[in-house]
Amino acid sequence: MSGFDKVVDSYEEALAGLDNNMTVLAGGFGLCGIPEGCIAQIKRMGVRGLTVVSNNCGVDGFGLGVLLEDKQISKMVSSYVGENALFEKQMMEGELEVELTPQGTLAEKLRAGGAGIPAFYTATGFGTPIGEGKESRQFDGRDYILEESITGDFAIVKGWKADRYGNVIYRHTAQNFNPMVATAGKITVVEVEEIVEPGELDPSQIQTPGIYVNRVVLGNFEKRIEQRTVRQADA
């Protein structure tokens, strides 16, 4: 690696330095836009005691769900979980701690974390169990709670295309949490479907500028669909 060239040749290199008890931020919504290759590499590495921040936790046998198989995750920070039986079991048996966070608050915690803002006020969750024990304050007659931002040791991101400098674009709704996650990792790893040369992506179309990105790796993606829903083609 030299200069601004962020490309690494393997997932092994991409996740070098990941250790037990670290916090990993992962992009994706359901199984859409998830960093499949990084997740598989974390499984191979066998690191344990991870805190994983991700909107969801995959399904049995796919996505982040595979990290439950060897009990590598000790805490999940998510807005919606339990699409997998193993998750339910580990949560019920107290092996897996879950911090449920409203989806918009989770997105903003990551955005703020990457932007150097330690906390912010939001109306979301005031007067609910989520607001209990949190500082609250009124602005213009309305109640808000103080939510702290999130950063992580590693951020794992799924992009569509990146150039060698780590400038990234996303495809369709596979964008979701990925751009915020990309800003909030001490080490941000982006896996993509295609790596291009600097200059090939239109600078004004770049969604994650390379300054946030430490490593870029080329992946192969299964892109499993959670709810395949179709209509009949018009006759």
């Binding site: 919504f29 359901g30 199984l31 859409c32 836009g33 909107n55 998510s78 807005s79 919606y80 979980v81 339990g82 339910e88 449920l100 409203p102 989806q103 918009g104 608050t105 989770l106 997105a107 903003e108 990551l110 955005r111 939001t122 109306a123 979301t124 969750g125 005031f126 007067g127 609910t128 169990p129 989520i130 109640d143 495809r171 369709h172 709704t173 596979a174 964008q175 979701n176 949490f177 990925n178 751009p179 915020m180 969604q207 892109k223 499993r224 669909i225 959670e226 709810q227 395949r228 829903t229 179709v230 209509r231 009949q232 083609a233």
Partner: protein
């Protein structure tokens, strides 16, 4: 007779106005999209980051990178936009969405809503519901008036943990269309053939009944 799910969706759809940006929750709210009145254009927001959600794809159009907030494969309409989750909730929290329709377990006369958690049962999470109810000024809750066991879901105080406090102003049940203001339910309309007495009997919180309660027509 109590409204069917489709009739509930149809009634909610009459509240749509031309040019509305609308977020529809899972279940009955999703069906509202099937009853957009003629001559009205609305754009559907899906909180995973899509404004201008279209139909489900044909088999040939299925794309794993195009899903809705229910994780179903979808398409985008002409003129749609796609953005990050932070932008999506900026729209929602910032009050830019004109109408939000979502389901609930309970609502009460203070405008509180409980929709995400039943203690003792598996808790899957609130997803975007807390942000949606906190951010939207114009919300319609759709739910059955009473539980399967006949217990009212329109209460003087929600018994379940809240999704949001003081944020609900309108509820459409299978029996009635109800407004919440001044700490009371106000009966606006009744389902065809459903008596005011039945609605009052099945409403646990205080309900104000005007002299004439129009009957919904379909």
């Amino acid at each position: 007779m109590a409204l069917s799910r489709e009739q509930m969706a149809q009634r909610v759809a009459r509240e749509l106005k031309d040019g509305y940006y609308v977020n529809l929750g899972i279940g009955i709210p999703t069906l509202v999209a099937n009853y957009v009145p003629d001559g009205i254009e609305v754009m559907l927001q899906s909180e995973n980051g899509l404004l201008g959600m279209g139909q489900f794809p044909t088999e040939d159009e299925v794309d794993a990178d195009m899903i809705n907030a229910g994780k179903q494969t979808v398409t985008a309409i002409t003129g749609a936009s796609i953005f990050s989750s932070a932008d999506s909730f900026a729209m929602i929290r910032g009050g830019h969405v004109d109408l939000t329709v979502l389901g609930a377990f309970e609502v009460d006369t203070q405008g509180n809503i409980a929709s995400w958690m039943v203690p003792g049962k598996l808790i899957k999470g609130m997803g975007g519901a807390m942000d949606l109810v906190a951010g939207a000024d114009n919300i319609i809750v759709t739910m059955t008036h009473a539980s399967k066991h006949g217990e009212s879901k329109l209460l003087s105080e929600c018994s379940l943990p809240l999704t949001g406090a003081g944020c609900i102003k309108r509820v459409l049940t299978d029996l009635a269309f109800i407004e919440i203001k001044e700490g009371k339910f106000w009966l606006l309309e009744r389902a065809p053939g459903v008596s005011v007495e039945e609605i009052v009997e099945k409403t646990a919180g205080e309900i104000v009944v005007p002299e004439h309660v129009p009957e919904m027509a379909f």
